[in-house]
Symmetry: C2
Amino acid sequence: MTPETHEWAQSLDTLHDQAWKRLARGVADRRAPCRHPTLATVDAEGTPQARTVVLRAADPKAARLRVYTDRHADKVDEVQLTPKATVHVWDNVAHLQLRLIASVEVLIGPAVEPVWAQLSDHARQCYGFSPASGSAIDDGLAYDKQPSADSLAVLELTLQHMEVLHLGHRHRRARFSRSDGWSGQWVTP
Amino acid sequence: MTPETHEWAQSLDTLHDQAWKRLARGVADRRAPCRHPTLATVDAEGTPQARTVVLRAADPKAARLRVYTDRHADKVDEVQLTPKATVHVWDNVAHLQLRLIASVEVLIGPAVEPVWAQLSDHARQCYGFSPASGSAIDDGLAYDKQPSADSLAVLELTLQHMEVLHLGHRHRRARFSRSDGWSGQWVTP
């Protein structure tokens, strides 16, 4: 039942490197596990919230990720009030759980125009609804799409900590932090 | 690319019913998407945290779920301080996202003895590490397993809201709340 340990899970450097490889694959490949992380935030009542998002960019040098959203979505209000998020992935191919704790900046307006310009017509359909996303409606289909650059928000996630768990013959877990240059620390699973 | 709409997604009652069917399947079937939800909590610094858990029980009448954990895990401290959680599942078979907002009670000690008694030796290996889960260690394998009933905690999740999103030819999203008897309200996706 228990998967064998991957060689890259045996040292902190290679484990950290593998986490970023999986994230890069998520950006490039629609079917990779890291394509669809869960983004956890905290709402105005202090309640944790979570939803699936699409990973749009992963920059290992800056340790930054990007996610796009409708700017009217609750998660935008949430991170404007509490600018923190955790990006969670269970990668069943690599037997790897990533828990990426990040500070969040919301980009809207002119800052996202270059992103909008590169989106296909199909992709643009996700940004802009009437009534706005989250509004109560009389029927499940009682809404229209009104795609517009004004409705696009980019969440820029600057990682502060990475908690990486590899499930092998014996599990290995490590914490990496921006504050110590991502050198890493093994911890008990 | 876009999946067809399932018939059960077209009314609030059948959508709510389907959500519970998928959860029940997660408890019964190791390979069902609802077997491994993501549990989001809030830590002492107000930062959202998230990790994969195993769904152990789902009671549609009481609208309660159960998850087991090592009682030394950070998530136990987190829900003892902020007794709220969101259980998140993306069910790629049903094209269904479940966001289940719950209050949380932690059961330990005599209350979990009946659970411990029913766990296999293999399952018990997940509860009890030395040094305790989350401790800094010199090497990735510098820990021992010390399974013990004292190390088992059961998280009892009492759902307050269910946010259900079905991805179909056109998406449908609904909110269900304990306070109105789970009658449900369509909202814009």
